[in-house]
Amino acid sequence: MGPWGAVRALGLALIAGAWFFAGCSQAERADLVLHNGPEPETIDPQILTGQADGRIASALFEGLTRFNPTNGTAMPGLASHWDISADGLTYTFYLRPDARWSTGEPMEADEVVWSWRRAVTPATAADYASQFFCVRNGRPIVNGEIRDTSRLGAEALDAHTVRVHLENPTPYFLELAASRVFFPIPRRAVERLGDQWIRAEPLPCSGPYRLLGWRVNDRFRLARNPHYWDAAQVTAERIDILSGDNPSTALNLFLKGEVDLISDRKIIPGELGPELAQRPDFHRFDYLGQDFIRFNTTRKPFHDARVRRAVAMSLDRPRITARITRMGERPSAAVTPAGAGGYQPPAGVPWDPVSARRLLAEAGYPEGRGFPVVEYTFNVGSRIYEQTGVEIQAMLREHLGIRVELRPLEWKTYLAEMSALNYDFIRGSWVGDYDDPMTFLDCFLSDSGNNRTGWKEVRYDRLLQAAAAEVDPQRRLGILREAETLLVTEAVPVTGLYSHVGLYAADPRKIGGIWPNRMDEHPFFSMRRIRP
């Protein structure tokens, strides 16, 4: 009787499975289906840090300003207009009288100020609270030096006017106001549910869409928000935003027409990039991100700037972009991508193996003799990092006679080892939070948690301070350039490899209202399906 019992159990299991599917097969297609990459860690605009997380949040919420879909600059959002004082230190925003939450409740200036105060409170644990450092008293509050958050330089003049006092003239403040951590959040829901307010049902939203459903590792289902001030522009009734981190799957879904838009380069198979970039439905653009190498300046042999420069000079960057990344990335020895806020970064160390060998000899390693075996650490995740490592290994062997071992680490170990300065030289990358060189350069301040090279240089810190205080934009960029020259040409605790290229997939005959831009911001309010 044994086997027949098993067979019967199997049959039952199959029937149960079939029944399960019959129950949930009402999967009618949404007006727009987007593939958003990995499951968001959180969609709370004050807490989130990931790009995928940010995209969901910006479908549901909006700031006083919002990003212009064509070029990523700021345009009116919940505030219809604003005044800026002549010294660039005071911003007055005028809230739209018709700004409402999706639950119908009005949004008032008080709520905006309250939201910002919450964001800077250390107990909220907002990683991006540092975006408030340019606001008066923002830094000391986040650092816990001032406990009274009402001293933050933001006040409600009346029900519809918010005034912000800045610490320094900040040319990118309007873009900051469009970023997630500056989104006003629904005060009543937060007071009711605390840090899990985002799970409120219904969730009060201020953006073009409201949340209907959220299934982990599957999808977000959103519906048009009728209370959105610009609801007339929003044509899709319902959108699905899929979560998944396998690039080939995203591509297959797109090619089969199940997905209308893949919004992230990371979920488009990297090794097919060059072929896909040829297609009319894949769009390539320069993007505000940079890959570079950090040197551990506290450890032999890279404690010697000559050795770091020698290595930086022997890296044939065009070879890496032509053979490995192959998407038209710009080779660059700087840490700032060209054009951030109208800025032209210095060229950094030149490609010059002959001088590199001389430098290495000066440092005591003629022809690489006596040079210890060094490890190049990188995180696993993309084959590209490994392949870049293999090329770097070959280049340094060829040009400097140095032996490099490759050390792949999974993500968290990589981060822990990098923060603990437990490496020789290591892959790094940075994506700008706003369109200005400062977002890259302040990583390498002596006391920055993002420095991770052990390099401390008072001269560099002073230059960045001077730049922050400078009112004249051109002079400011000049000072920043001087600082970056010190960083990537003289001291070289870090040397650039290439600037990133963004890529998204959308058939221009089917999807409209989306444009490539260097901020990789593709706001949802303008996105629409083109009906034949």
């Binding site: 080939s248 053979r323 696993v380 490994e386 071992e405 490759l406």
Partner: protein, 305 residues
């Protein structure tokens, strides 16, 4: 064991030689082992040496084409075979020694011993493999590599490989133990065992001479499953960045690399077909040898048991 003219060993050898598949498999395995050890030297092509001709299809110069760095795939496949054979052998060895021993003792002793032994297998089973492998490898990296680099810096890669194989092997014997134990439980009550017991055959001899031969079948089947499982697990680890260190290669890591060629846009078939094909051939050979051994070693009715 005696070696009389028509000893069981001789008969087994004869039976093995009569099995065409087994002999062919054995020859192929030996050939692959020898080739993977010697060919990389003979070719004088460094498997890690890049060139300016990436992604060339197979031709007279590069028999299996080249990869993204322009490295010769043929020499990489050979090197990879060597490493994968080693990984597979260690996995099989550990399953064979620990797994069979554990299952045999547990099944034979039964009762309390059996319960303890099998419950500890259950506990180990439930520990997440990735965490275990990861932990042992990280501990090796943080505790041992520093120490080693003062003494034998040049042999660190070899130690690292050994650490990975031990770590993989340490979790590969669990199913073997379970399967062997179940079989022993069933064999224990058979007449021939009971008879041997009643005439006072000592337990160790009983296990080796009477139980083990009857387990040859399951053991071989499980080995032919373990070897690919361990080799593929290594490729999964490589995929996660915990396996073979680049630029080294294993058959598994080459297959993991080649798997991305299964896409609807552009297919560079050689990157998958050669490593995967070789892997399939090796496993087929292994299978054939397993079958041959099985029919050669298993006791026949009337063999006196």
């Amino acid at each position: 064991m005696n070696t009389a003219p028509s000893s069981p060993e001789r008969q087994a050898l004869l039976r093995f030689r009569r099995n065409r598949w087994a002999v062919a498999g054995l020859i192929f395995l030996l050939l692959a082992t020898v080739l993977s050890v010697f060919v990389p030297w003979m070719l004088a092509i460094d498997p890690n040496q890049g060139s300016d001709s990436p992604f060339t299809a197979p031709d007279g110069r590069h028999w299996m084409g080249t990869d993204i760095h322009g490295r010769d795939l043929f020499s990489r496949v050979m090197i990879g075979t060597r490493i994968s054979l080693m990984v597979g052998a260690v996995g099989a060895g550990v399953s064979l020694i620990i797994g069979v021993g554990w299952g045999l003792v547990a099944g034979w002793r039964g009762g309390r011993t059996d319960a303890w032994m099998m419950r500890s297998v259950d506990v180990l089973y439930a520990l997440p493999t990735v965490v275990w492998v990861m932990l042992t490898l990280t501990l090796f990296e943080t505790r041992c590599v520093g120490w080693l680099s003062e003494r034998w810096p040049s042999s660190i890669p070899a130690f690292r490989l050994a650490a990975m194989m031990v770590s993989l092997g340490s979790v590969s014997w669990l199913t073997m133990a379970r399967v062997v134990r179940a079989q022993v439980l069933s064999l224990r009550e058979r007449p021939f065992i009971l008879a041997a017991q009643s005439i006072g055959v000592p337990p160790v001899r009983l296990m080796l001479r009477h139980l083990l031969p009857n387990l040859v079948g399951v053991i071989l089947v499980y080995l032919t499953l373990t070897v690919p499982a361990v080799v593929l697990y290594e490729s999964f680890l490589s995929f996660l960045g915990l396996g073979i260190r680049p630029p080294q290669a294993s058959l598994g890591s080459l297959i993991a690399d080649g798997a991305s060629q299964l896409n609807p846009v552009r297919v560079r078939w050689w990157l998958l077909v050669f490593p995967a094909g070789l892997m399939a051939l090796l496993l087929a050979a292994l299978n054939g040898v397993g079958e041959g051994l099985r029919s050669a070693l298993e006791p026949r009715e009337g063999d006196g048991d």
